[in-house]
Symmetry: D2
Subunit: 288 residues, 4 copies
Amino acid sequence: MTRTADTWILAAQCPSLLGTVDVVTRFLKEQRCYITELNSFDDRLNERFFIRAEFRPLENDFSVEAFEESFGARAVEFDMSFELTPPNKRTKAVIMVSKADHCLNDLLYRYRTHQLPMEICAVVSNHPDLEPLAQWHGLPWHYLPVTPESREQQERQILQIIEQTDAELVILARYMQVLSANMCDVLAGRAINIHHSLLPGFKGAKPYHQAYEKGVKLVGATAHYINNDLDEGPIIAQGVETVDHAHYPEDLVAKGRDIECLTLSRAIGYHLERRVFLYSGRTVVLGH
Amino acid sequence: MTRTADTWILAAQCPSLLGTVDVVTRFLKEQRCYITELNSFDDRLNERFFIRAEFRPLENDFSVEAFEESFGARAVEFDMSFELTPPNKRTKAVIMVSKADHCLNDLLYRYRTHQLPMEICAVVSNHPDLEPLAQWHGLPWHYLPVTPESREQQERQILQIIEQTDAELVILARYMQVLSANMCDVLAGRAINIHHSLLPGFKGAKPYHQAYEKGVKLVGATAHYINNDLDEGPIIAQGVETVDHAHYPEDLVAKGRDIECLTLSRAIGYHLERRVFLYSGRTVVLGH
Amino acid sequence: MTRTADTWILAAQCPSLLGTVDVVTRFLKEQRCYITELNSFDDRLNERFFIRAEFRPLENDFSVEAFEESFGARAVEFDMSFELTPPNKRTKAVIMVSKADHCLNDLLYRYRTHQLPMEICAVVSNHPDLEPLAQWHGLPWHYLPVTPESREQQERQILQIIEQTDAELVILARYMQVLSANMCDVLAGRAINIHHSLLPGFKGAKPYHQAYEKGVKLVGATAHYINNDLDEGPIIAQGVETVDHAHYPEDLVAKGRDIECLTLSRAIGYHLERRVFLYSGRTVVLGH
Amino acid sequence: MTRTADTWILAAQCPSLLGTVDVVTRFLKEQRCYITELNSFDDRLNERFFIRAEFRPLENDFSVEAFEESFGARAVEFDMSFELTPPNKRTKAVIMVSKADHCLNDLLYRYRTHQLPMEICAVVSNHPDLEPLAQWHGLPWHYLPVTPESREQQERQILQIIEQTDAELVILARYMQVLSANMCDVLAGRAINIHHSLLPGFKGAKPYHQAYEKGVKLVGATAHYINNDLDEGPIIAQGVETVDHAHYPEDLVAKGRDIECLTLSRAIGYHLERRVFLYSGRTVVLGH
């Protein structure tokens, strides 16, 4: 699971077709790359193929450009999209928050202890409360308040930060604003949200209060890519906790915090390790 | 948790009022009953009080009638309803099934190994398939097929069986028919259903197929009292299992079976041990 | 996860060496076999490689003999052992029990509902109690009582049954006898035991009583291949349940039953689906 | 579960005797205290009784001294020890750490967000590494390095800090030193340690490495009161996580961190809410 310092990742997907595995594994063999972990899955209902390989080049002259060019030439025959990730890759990320600090605190702890291979380029918030937390970790802080009237402009500013920092990933760590359709489109497949319910149950606002009303015996959280359909994006990870009658809404909120943190950080880990494949509104998560 | 052969259970509920605990515990002391386990809960949002005591009479002349009369006289001042359950109590139950046998098989195993303190008086089904299973356990079998036209009559027959056997509990162990409003009313608070989703998510038919469509990473089951609002009855217990992209709908169905069995039998156990209190569309489950 | 009716399984292991994946996947491609699921793992501490592929031959003339011969010729260069499993394979198994019936009941239910792809050839017991259960399922029953003096002879009889039925798998479903070193040797890698603790904690007799003494808050079960070192065989699966102070030893026993059943059947499922690889006293379980 | 701002806690234990519940509940009634949650348990193997009540005084003139004096007079007849905890009680605590920061980080987050009703008086460490973390939270930091020769003196300094701060609770948040017998005695029943295994499995050093060697499929953590028998103190809480063959020792370490944090903070929460009763080397945890 931990990878040696010379381990690369190749992740690819394409339509189901004879030879999809072979085109990857034969190439790696030819390039003298030793595969340490390999997982592939063929979705027979959607006729789509997914593969993820961890490998170590046995020679010193491994070249990304040469690999991508040579492999690309073969992949194209399978209509295969692929991504090659180097050992030292730290994905650039922007985190968005509001007032709740538990997810941010958890992410920043994992960040500073190198548990998540990312580089946090900015923390953006529509409230000023969490600035000290970001600052203690030495992270650029952007306070961008928002009203219904200013939303369009505020989102433009956020997108500017994402562009300027070259961020590939946006993490909505309890950012309590609905994003515009345009924002969702621009961030499709690279923005992960944590919703505090077992979606699709309890969509929308105050899910723990809804859960209390129903008298549920389990509460949970869902990490998903955002899309235009609020709280309906492709699910990456879900977590759950048992509760009982003695949990008032505020107890559910408190109990939910731990599971939100764990679920969000797990989903981010999957994403950063290139385990998550997105297609037809769902995800394949390989080798977790 | 296991009780000695001389342990009684007293379960009661009433509006929140000073002295609700004392009226129970003082009486038990006066009657020279030793309390081995006691749990009470006060729902401050609904202003309702619940208490459950397990106790051993220290004298040999313990009399149910005397207890109920004396205690009843005090309970009435608190508008308290109560139920006294003797050590050897085996609640009479009728099980309703259709074609799926996993919950029935599980219940009958627990039944014949004395894990559930009930006496199964009849197994009723709208399909003939599970007769051998009931017969091997020596249980009366009633095959009552049903069509939309015959439903009223079929339900009358079922209610007759329930009456004639003096059954206090009805278990819908994957009985795949919607019950009429009248049937639900008659069985309110004493009929437990197992639904194969984490209600209120995926209500209605084919919940595992719905779950597959959504690409969820968790599936579950919900045991609840039936009421008129289909799949919305008060929840007693819920269970959950992790799944992933490789689970096709039929895999979710298979994976769900174990959790359905466990969740249903757990809910029945709570009910039989008088742990479940029903009020305002929700349950309190004490001391599980 | 469910496989189509034409899906084969290839499982193999060998020392770590460049080309281990390629030798498998290239061959499958050449044979026009479509890989629907593939998992490989390289244990860098033990320098050993494991691979498991599910595949569908695209042509009608697929021949086991030809496949094994041709692939064998290549595998030998990698010192690779492999096993090819056809779609309709039902592994022959013998189940050994004593008096406890929960695991047997669970296995027979899964057996008769085709949840485990095996053919039970015999049920062997050192006690007469569970004969009716075996008989109801139409299974050959062998009552072989045992004393310290007769153990050698009794084990010979058991081995005879295993041989005569061509059983490939032996399941110790709470068989409460210690096997001889010889018996363990003969059955190495093909006999699965369920121990009612989270090994290596609470080895030996009465683990739930040991757990009670320690006041643990979790109990569990371990399914493992048997070996000469009692309760120390390679672990295949483990399950766990929360408990508390109110659980007396007999409550732990009761609570443990469900987790024993689930853990044993899960381990057997992994074994039957050729997911388990045994080496150096440990297991790799691919793609579960 | 959350308590209103006027809720007191009464916790008591004594030998099993008729009237143990009544002596508590009758007194509360007489004092016009409304019980919102009540749990009692009688350990019939050890013949010991435990009770915990949450209650709200209905009158404004509630006096701790009067309560303790009056109730004490009755409790003495039952040889009952008890503790009365006021609504705003924040237990004074000292945290001991070494180099690992995950438990400290987690505790300090819960501390500053008021999830744990305690007042941290000091953070003590035998290494300088975690000073910035303590400082950012404005907590007194004591760097007390230790060698085998200086242990006696260092422990004296620690005990001095505990005394001077009036700390009632000591938390060993991955403090990697064995305490002396004397230190254990002095801190008996008020020092909580987190061990990174499912005790009594994998006692001693490097439990995750031991777990890897055994090829376990589950790892866990145990929070317990310290006593003279290293890693054998009374267990308060245990947590668990699934792992597989792909987890190298360092992966188990990483995976274990989350469960260590959760298990330790849960145990501390139980202790602070006066749910934990210690006797005969084991614990009763009421109403969690």
